[in-house]
Symmetry: C2
């Protein structure tokens, strides 16, 4: 079992790699090799099998060709330009998120080896005038270029799978929180930073009101689901290879209260509310009322409480003082 | 008002051009120029204003750039590789139907003139495990590459419209019948030829059973709707620029009975039923139970009876004996 993680330098890619390294097997087979590829050479992970790190620009077909071999069994396609970045830079968003996805699928098709491709989509594919709750059969009407690019990726994963070029499965990620590391250009960046920075003793700005509702999943659960996602039987995935990954709806107030319940009253005092219309315009177009029936039926799971999400951050990610 | 019809040599493109020529105005303005562009130089139409014909390969950005000027007000994007052709030739399908659409949208974006773009999608965007009836909020799960390419076009029309690069509106065409001319490589080709050929005294093969249900519209109504579609106010189109064009559900038996009612008993005797599994596999994956609430509300209409469709063919298209 030879695994490639495109976007292997990112938060989810690194955690996925660590989890696969600890696990040692996937889809009933021992893992014999893993490659982490990203636009900058990823941090390697320790594993009982060889782990290679490499740079790969998915927008460049030649670069993709050097990363995906005929003996690549499973490809995690996590690499992407995030939402606010894709909204600001139209060309780069399409180049990475659409053309990059096409390059990966085309490489798999050219090899003729039908690898498993696990594609990460996003709840940003939903928007517009569709009624709540969002079901497995709800129209994708993204209100960002990022969401559009992910929706196109979903369609391509379906078509390349239907044609037998890949065995694809796509998962629309809820917003991942508490995400470790630094703020990024995702419009959802604050949904981690209002917790992470205060837990690390730093100030944070919340650009929305505290009754803002959204749909969340911890990094730990996300990785569990991505591993389960690779292991689903092809026949069970059905005619739409893409599905919402389970999450839970919480308000900003509930996130903060969970932090206080786990870590005491001090961190919450470091949050300053400061409305940011640009961010609000994007995130208020997202849809949080999700009914991910299919993925729940297939055994994927959400967190039990946001207190768990806070604890996972403290256990897995909080920098040593 | 300067109009460009990409796909102006096709059946719908030609009829649209003739109708616009007779009409003389669009969106409240006098038509001052019309260009018919296609992969081979289209047949010109008579009009009280200048009509240019030109070759354009939409897969080639330079070719697209010569067809779309800063003074192009309305672009009808009808050019496409049809369903069975796109299913057989994966690369050509994506090159014309996806990359071609991108080239047109990118040209409009580069000009910065925000033309009205009327995009023709297809009911082939629907399929898979979604429940009936198909509504304006039903998930697009195409089961052909053609449907996938059209669904991607819809997403792009939405995103380029949302960004203000175009004023887009897309219409998913029912199967157009009775389509004049010759059979083509569309899987739906027989849905006209089992009527057209017998009406012209020729034999025809029906590759499905006579209880096969499908969703139809006459060319005359389709053109009416495409003109109304260009004239809709941008605000009325809403956050999803794409909608099903109204049609009606009929069985093959009902089509044949309508032909007999209008043209007598002889034509039906020229139809031979001969099952074709390749065609059946495609057309049985299409969804006919459509509830096009939005387009009906916006004033688009279907035919009253299939007898009308037969009469329109006899009036508009039947070759002189």
């Amino acid at each position: 079992m030879n695994i490639l993680i495109l976007g292997g330098g990112g938060v989810v890619g690194q955690k996925l790699a660590q989890s696969l390294a600890q696990r040692g097997h996937l889809r009933g087979q021992e893992i014999t090799r893993m490659t982490l590829a990203d636009i900058v050479d990823p941090v390697p992970v320790e594993a009982p099998f060889p782990v290679e790190t490499t740079t790969c620009d998915i927008a460049d077909p030649a670069s993709v060709a050097t990363s995906i071999d005929a003996d690549t069994d499973v490809i995690y396609l996590l690499a992407a330009i995030v939402s606010a970045h894709a909204e600001e830079d139209f060309d780069t968003g399409y180049r990475i998120n659409m053309t990059g996805t096409i390059n990966v699928l085309e490489r798999a098709r050219a090899l003729g080896t039908k690898p498993v491709v696990v594609f990460t989509s996003s709840l940003a594919v939903f928007g517009g005038e569709v009624p709540d709750p969002i079901t497995d059969h709800t129209f994708l009407n993204p209100q960002t270029s990022y969401g559009t690019q992910k929706a196109i990726g979903e369609l391509l994963v379906n078509d390349y799978s239907r044609k037998g070029f890949i065995d694809g499965r796509g998962f629309r990620l809820p917003t991942i929180s508490v995400r470790p590391g630094k703020p990024n250009r995702a419009a959802s960046s604050f949904m981690s930073s209002i917790l992470r920075e205060p837990l690390n003793g730093q100030e944070a700005i919340c650009p929305v009101e505290d009754d803002f509702l959204h749909y969340y999943l911890s990094p730990r659960k996300c990785v569990e689901n991505l591993i389960k996602g690779a292991e689903l039987a092809e026949d069970d995935v059905g005619m739409n290879r893409n599905m919402m990954m389970p999450g839970k709806i919480w308000s900003v107030r509930q996130l903060i209260d969970a932090m206080t319940a786990v870590a005491g009253a001090e961190p919450a005092k470091l949050i300053r509310f400061e409305a940011q219309p640009d961010i609000q315009r994007i995130v208020k177009g997202w849809r949080y009322d999700q009914a991910p029936e299919k993925s729940l039926k297939l055994g994927l799971t959400a967190d039990d409480s946001f207190e768990d999400n806070i604890r996972y951050y403290l256990e897995d990610d909080k920098p040593a003082a």
